[in-house]
């Protein structure tokens, strides 16, 4: 078990370093879409919530897990669509005309 946590820790550290590097010098223009996209990506909690529901031994956990799945789904779907809408406008905006 300890070995598993340790290798997770290594993964965690590397991913943090990678996260820092990925967003080094982005144009101001893209700050909001990037925030919005990463916002959608942390919707990955929906997977964690799913694991809780799928492995739950107790009803309370299952219910809480389902609430979390709901939350996560809102986060993911809403997040990606909003980001896409923002980015759509960068192309000259012929597709969608709502500002």
């Amino acid at each position: 078990m300890a070995a598993e946590i340790l290798s997770q820790l290594v993964v965690l550290v590397l991913a943090i370093a990678l996260g820092f590097e990925l967003i080094s010098r982005v144009p101001t223009l893209l700050h909001t879409p990037l925030m919005s996209a990463t916002n959608a990506i942390h919707g990955i909690v929906v997977v964690g919530a799913l694991v809780i529901v799928l492995t739950a031994e107790d009803t309370l956990t299952k219910v809480l897990g389902l609430v979390a799945v709901f939350f996560g789904a809102v986060n993911v779907v809403g997040g990606f669509i909003v980001t896409n809408r923002m980015l759509e406008m960068f192309r000259g905006g012929s597709r969608r005309k709502r500002g």
Partner: protein
Amino acid sequence: MALSTGTTLVYLFAAALFIFGIRLLRSPQTARAGNLVAAVGMFVAFVVTFFEFPAEALTLVLIAVVVGLGSAVGGVIAVRVPMTSMPQFVAAFNGVGGGAAALIGFSEFYEIQLAGGDENLVILLFIFFSILVGGLSFAGSVIAFVKLEELAFGGSVTFPGQKVVNAGLLVLVIALVVTVLAGGPAPVLFAAVLLALALLLGVLLVIPIGGADMPIVISLLNAFTGVAAAASGMALGNTVLIIAGALVGASGTILTYLMSNALGRPLSKILFGAVAAAGTGAAAGDGEEKPVTSGGADDVAATLAYDADSVIFIPGYGLAVAQAQGAIADLMRTLEAQGKDVKFAIHPVAGRMPGHMNVLLAEADVPAEKLFDLEDINDQFAETDAVVIVGANDVVNPTAREEGDNPIAGMPILNADHAKRVVIVKRSLSPGFAGIDNPLFYDQDKTMMLFSDAKQGLEGVTQSVKNQG
């Protein structure tokens, strides 16, 4: 909970898609593709999880219903929300994510207690961390949403002793965690209390922050949710949660830093400034009536047509509200047809989100080479005949140059006041986002106010220029 080889590989693939997606998001040309790539990663990770943990039909149905509901809610909101309300809905989506992380942490803790409470200390720490940070992010995002939608808590809400209360809460949290880890009684109850405290902390952290700083706070809460997701991933032993959460946590932190730099507001000042200065709050206007020069569309048109060879447009939030991007592009073309030199000066924080103006003007087919950043154009105002400020306020407010306590002190502004003539198109003398008065309005020799909705006002001016030309 060691995962099967297949699932681990698929999770790794999903993580790689997230990384690649974020890479693509760094350039405007590929950003949409990047968003799509990340979404595919999400889908893949979601689907494979069902194969890893088989469940009975009822559970699957429940999940399907809940996911359907969540997607519908998220999707409908995302499609409907007007561009100008984006920040608060990003906050909302972020909040539910944080809430999910907190619930995951709590559920996992509960299950561990049911199974006898015997768990690795490090895992327990990560569980508490996800409850705490996730809960904080949830509550903070709710407050941010409420503030931005102007439902309540307008401006900076402070109360005496706020600092002491916050510090006390933190101590309480640490005491709670230590008690549980040391094997104290009623761990589940304690975890529930921890969650409650986290929510309270989230409220207290965000409530004193003024609206102008909200986007930065949202970005910070976004990073928090990432961190909470990574922590819950550590607790569950789930690689894709760890990687995606850590990516968002780290990149969100950097992004927050970049944004607060672009807005000229150091993070510590945003988070603790209002609390430290509790009570001093900037006055939103002193009630006294001061005289201004105001004119109609014809007056403005005359100024532009006869007195100006070079014109700089400064668009702001009001342009977005009035959906006047088409109208301003028309005016640009009309003036150019008369041989005038027209440029746009884009302040980095004009509007309500970075890039707001670029997005709007791109929509109206204003060529990108006509848009100039603050640093590139600020020296040119002195040689410019006329500046037309449309629905912008804070970004041209000379008060920012003054030292002191005002909410925009130190923010770089566009030197509109250096131009020979200034035209300001807005509906009234009411202040902008930061809630402070703008001395530029009252420079009667230089400034002409055109009190109008931005779209109608600009259309009137264009018409009038054409008639006069």
